[in-house]
Symmetry: C2
Subunit: 119 residues, 2 copies
Amino acid sequence: METKTAITALAALAQDSRLAIFRALVQAGPAGLAAGRISELTGIAPSSLSFHLKELSHAGLADSRQDGRFVIYSARFETMNGLLDYLTDNCCGGNPCTPAAKCAVKPATRKPVSRKEPA
Amino acid sequence: METKTAITALAALAQDSRLAIFRALVQAGPAGLAAGRISELTGIAPSSLSFHLKELSHAGLADSRQDGRFVIYSARFETMNGLLDYLTDNCCGGNPCTPAAKCAVKPATRKPVSRKEPA
DNA sequence: TAAATAATTCAACTATCATTGAAATATGGA
DNA sequence: TCCATATTTCAATGATAGTTGAATTATTTA
């Protein structure tokens, strides 16, 4: 992941409402959540929610699909994975910043773990 | 790490200048870098740099110590570690978003991720 | 087709953020 | 002490970000 992309993702998550939304999406898994349901869960007003969902989508952290008159949003795990890798690679300088460092894997040069589906 | 703290850390990193500064500090390791050296490395003007360094310190991502007439800044790795743990715990739904998941070592700081909301 | 529901867009407003240059505060050395 | 260096503070400015409510678009159902 490039620095620019990482910053976009970080900025997307660095906000109360959006982090709450994203956490809800993560909990929901690949099935995702309708926008209205997210509004219920988080208490964010629809128009504000729409703004934040666009922000998350733009950052590549959420996907959306139309389902009848609902729009279902879901977390994009690859991007989150990419972000964690970026932070581990570039912001930990080979130091034990992550539990992974406790394992005998080399800390600084980690390749992305491709993982789309939650258990 | 609490959500509020995580957001502060995310916000601190979600900015070109600050991410560049933090990466430089990480590369420098515990020895750290004088403010002026950071200014040289990143091209950020002193007063602007000072603003961003305060921001990073406030977020717990940097420490500072006086050395003669220099002020040496260094990365605070524990906070970065805590942030990565937070993101892994709360934003990956118990899924292996990070290489750490590959090792079956130590759950360490991880709490079980409870799944409350059905799809 | 008309009404109801789901979501997004828009404009207006306020608040916060980032940068700049000048001034202030150390600290070390001549 | 005086001067140069290192860094921070401050005020002013322009740029972004987040919220709100009304209007709009799209889809389903009657």
